[in-house]
């Protein structure tokens, strides 16, 4: 796996435009990857401010900070911003930076389309965040935007719908780019089953995106025409059905959950072998497990709808299918643990995050299994138990994996090692405060606290106060990451080409920081 990079190729980036125009017109996968990540971090902070406002209101019973209408706007927009603005673009950013480096390609397959799929995002974000300032405020129907409540909303809803359309187009273009790149631009000798697992998980994720983003676009477009053009897709008086919206939404929504977690599995599967200094256990079964999860994800959507009054056969089918997903997910966890077993472990910051990920993500997996059981879910649906569950898989899952990946590849991106001490403080603060925030929510949900309420009965007061304290701790811990990033970009210990002792893979054969153009002559993989 030796990469040959002739010296004269290093200078190409001096010919393009400079300043702002460089970023607007760039077709370079590394520039675009960086922009994706900066964008997603800004959205992460915006969504975080909304979360902290929600938690401030819920610190004590009674209405103190915000009024119910605005509270609903906050919960709705927090969800949309975090899912579509923070988590998804962050993974696309990783894909842009890493996939060409990992498969030995010179760039993404469609470089101009890549530019366009990023630059669609800022207008979508402006529509979303700007909707707080229009008459009626932002959309307040929950991130799920259930009809007919979403039909009642003001113009903030229309802005959200258009934002979703734009982000959907962006995601589809990004996904097509990833599929074509992975299938066509691998270096000679890199067969599919030699490909790094991160590329595999993204390839499968990209297929999921292409399959389900149009479904979401259809759902919100039907809401739009119900709102303005007199259709009755979701209105019984006109022959429609409100539950139809939920079926269409969750046919998108459940694969969406895996869109947000499969690339995380990929990142973890790169990091664990590196710091265990041992090859990934069960590579082939990891690939098959990822594919099974993706296929099963199309058959479980109605487990979000057990309380809508499905027939018993429907409930049973979706219950069994959902429980089945526990099997391939379990295989992944077992494989990671087996990779660590009898390794030669060290715990640099990326490995800490990855180990932490396995631990807390699995808690989210178990609560998911409990929610899969229809009778129990009927008690827990729309309670804080569900809020706890999906934050364990999306924060402790997706977000922790993103941090793990960022600490792992920052040396390659910046040429400097990240500050180990700060990185470890960031990890431990995040880990502790995350659990203080979200673990009590299991108890709240079991005891009967509904989600999406601005005020609650007195027996829920103690755990809510605890969750709020944890949330502020968690929020402020993320500022440490900004310090780490700035320090790492500005300077620090020089990173070697192979920044981590146990790292394998083509990205570690190019210098750190990776030059603007890499693999213009494809490497040969043996």
């Amino acid at each position: 796996m030796a990469a040959v990079i002739p010296d004269h190729l290093h200078d190409h980036h001096h010919h393009g435009p400079t300043g702002l125009m460089r970023w607007i017109t760039t077709t370079n996968h590394k520039d675009i990857g960086t922009m994706y990540m900066i964008f997603s971090f800004i959205m992460f902070l915006s969504g975080g401010v909304m979360a902290l406002t929600i938690r401030a209101e819920l610190f004590q019973p009674g209405l103190q900070v915000v009024q119910p209408e605005f509270f609903n706007q906050l919960t709705s927009m927090h969800g949309l911003v975090m899912v579509f603005g923070a988590i998804m673009p962050a993974f696309v950013g990783f894909a842009n930076w890493q996939i060409p480096l990992m498969i030995g390609a010179s760039d993404m397959a469609f470089a101009r389309m890549n530019n366009w799929s990023f630059w669609l995002l800022p207008p979508a974000a402006i529509l979303l965040l700007g909707s707080f300032f229009v008459p009626g405020g932002a959309m307040a129907a929950g991130w799920t935007m259930y009809a007919p409540l979403s039909v009642q909303m003001g113009m903030g809803m229309d802005m959200a719908i258009f934002a979703i359309h734009i982000m959907g187009i962006s995601s589809i273009m990004g996904a097509i780019n990833i599929v074509v790149t992975v299938l066509n631009m691998r270096a000679p000798g890199m067969t599919m089953m030699k490909m790094p697992l991160f590329c595999w998980t993204w390839l499968i994720t990209a297929y999921l995106l292409i399959a389900v983003m149009p479904v979401l676009a259809g759902a919100v477009t039907m809401v739009l025409t119900d709102r303005h053009f007199g259709t009755s897709f979701f209105n019984a008086a006109g022959g429609g059905d409100p539950v139809l919206y939920q079926h269409v939404f969750w046919f998108f929504g459940h694969p969406e959950v895996y869109i947000m977690i499969l690339p995380a599995f990929g990142i973890i599967s790169e990091i664990i072998p590196t710091f265990a200094r041992k090859p990934l256990f069960g590579y082939a079964s990891m690939v098959y497990a990822t594919a099974s999860i993706a296929i099963l994800s199309f058959t479980v959507w109605a487990h979000h709808m057990f309380t809508t009054g499905m027939p018993a056969v429907g409930q049973l089918f979706f219950m069994y299918a959902t429980m089945l997903i526990a099997v391939p997910t379990g295989v992944k966890v077992f494989n990671w643990v087996a990779t660590m077993w009898r390794g030669s472990l060290t715990f640099e910051t990326p490995m800490l995050w990855a180990t932490g990920f396995i631990f807390v993500f699995t808690i989210g997996g178990f609560t998911g299994l409990i929610c899969a059981v229809a009778p129990i879910d009927i008690q827990l649906q729309d309670t804080y138990y569900v809020v706890a569950h999906f934050h364990y898989v999306l924060v402790a899952g997706s977000l922790f994996a993103l941090f793990a990946g960022a600490y792992y590849w920052l040396p390659k991106w910046t040429g400097h090692m990240a500050d180990e001490r700060l990185g470890k403080i960031h990890f431990w603060c995040s880990m502790v405060f995350f659990n203080i925030t979200f673990f009590p929510m299991h108890f709240l949900g079991l005891a009967g606290m509904p989600r999406r309420i601005p005020d609650y009965a007195l027996q829920f007061a103690d755990f809510n106060a605890m969750a709020t304290i944890g949330a502020f701790g968690f929020g402020f811990s993320q500022l440490i990451f900004i310090v780490v990033l700035v320090k790492c970009v500005k300077g620090g210990e020089k990173a070697a080409a192979r920044a981590w002792e146990g790292a394998h893979g083509l990205e570690w054969t190019v210098p750190s920081p990776a030059p603007h153009h890499t693999f213009e002559v494809p490497p040969v993989v043996k």
């Binding site: 009674g62 099997v327 059981v373 009778p375 009965a457």
Partner: protein
């Protein structure tokens, strides 16, 4: 109310008991697996460290192990699915109820109609009874803060109660944890669920589906009482309903209409349009100074009866009597800065229906 803070509420029906036990069982199984898997992982974290001189092994697959950890979870899942399947089927069996009650979700209150069985014909509207002073902290919060209503649902102990759910505007969900019941209430459709409470008591729940501004403020309070108490309650309700039935042809004077209208307004309109009539624009427009309220009365009658499509303004035609609608319209047209001097009569409402 069962004071559970860390677990499911104390169940009072067979179904809720099954759910409670199933959850306990699954929790135990998950804990055992969790401890086993992470026991292995943390032993590895502890023992297989480079700093302790651990040298990495080179194995990276083992077909036997991989088959075992695929098949064993499948078997465990089958064990979990069996009791769950039985409960799902039992939950769906709404046949042969003793009493059938329709629960209608409104933004933001519950309406109950006793359709069949003892108590047939009783109707009630159930509003949050926690005073707003307790919400904004001007008054100490009571024990049942946000979980109390003016008119609770009353049912007899030991009888199979079938609840039909539907909604008037958006989707709501009728949820009482101790009874093991949660069923979405979907506008334009009827869904059903059932419970048979094994013991008397007061059981509280909430609307569980986001339904707009006051989603957090439409609780459910169920009183499970003895057969005798239930019979007495039904008699009292029916007597009260007969006594309060209005003569539809009575001609009212303005002052009486305003007094009655103020009460109707407080119970039905003030959540959005606010007690001072200023509303919460733009979602909830003001009535004070409104062109509709000060304009021709037929337009306002039409809006109150039929609602406004695509907005939160509900159709009150089916919820309120002619007299109540006449009173509340009269009130809005003759209070705050509105002085039309008109008294709207119940007959005018009946004519506009």
């Amino acid at each position: 109310m069962a004071e559970s803070r860390v677990n499911l509420q104390q169940p009072v029906t067979q179904i809720a008991t099954e759910i409670y036990d199933m959850h306990t069982l699954m929790l135990v199984i998950c804990m055992v697996i969790f401890i086993a898997v992470f026991g292995v992982m943390f032993w590895s974290v502890f023992a297989h460290r480079k700093s302790k001189g651990a040298v990495a092994a080179h194995f990276h697959e083992n077909t036997t192990v991989e088959i075992v950890w695929t098949v064993v979870p499948v078997l465990i899942l089958l064990g979990m699915a069996y009791p769950a399947t039985k409960t799902v089927i039992a939950m769906k069996d709404t046949s042969n109820p003793d009493i059938t009650i329709k629960a209608t979700g409104y933004q933001w209150k519950w309406g109950y109609d006793y359709l069949k069985g003892e108590g047939e014909g009783v109707k009630l509207i159930s509003n949050l009874s926690t005073p707003s002073e307790q919400l904004d902290g001007r008054q100490a919060k009571g024990d049942n803060y946000l979980l109390e209503v003016d008119q609770p649902l009353v049912v007899p102990v030991g009888k199979k109660i079938r609840i039909l759910t539907t909604a008037n505007d958006v989707i709501h969900a009728w949820w009482v944890p101790a009874l093991g019941v949660k069923q979405d209430a979907i506008p334009g459709f009827i869904r059903d669920t059932w419970f048979r409470a094994d013991k008397e008591g007061v059981f509280r729940g909430n609307c569980a589906e986001l339904c707009g501004k006051d989603h957090g403020f439409m609780p459910i309070e169920v009183h499970v009482v003895s057969a005798e108490k239930y019979a007495a309650w039904v008699a009292e309700k029916k007597g009260a309903q007969a006594a309060s039935a209005d003569d539809p042809n009575k001609v009212w004077d303005l002052a009486d209409l305003k007094v009655r209208g103020e009460k109707v307004f407080a119970a039905n309109c003030a959540a959005c349009h606010q007690a001072d009539g200023k509303g919460l624009p733009p979602a909830f427009p003001p009535l004070d100074g409104s062109a509709v309220v000060q304009g021709p009365k037929i337009a306002q009658i039409d809006t109150v009866l039929k609602g406004r499509e695509g907005t939160a303004m509900a159709a009150f035609g089916k919820q309120l009597s002619d007299t109540d609608i006449a009173a509340v319209i009269t009130y809005t047209r003759n209070t705050w800065g509105n002085h039309t001097g008109e008294a709207i009569q119940p007959t005018e409402i009946a004519a506009a229906r």
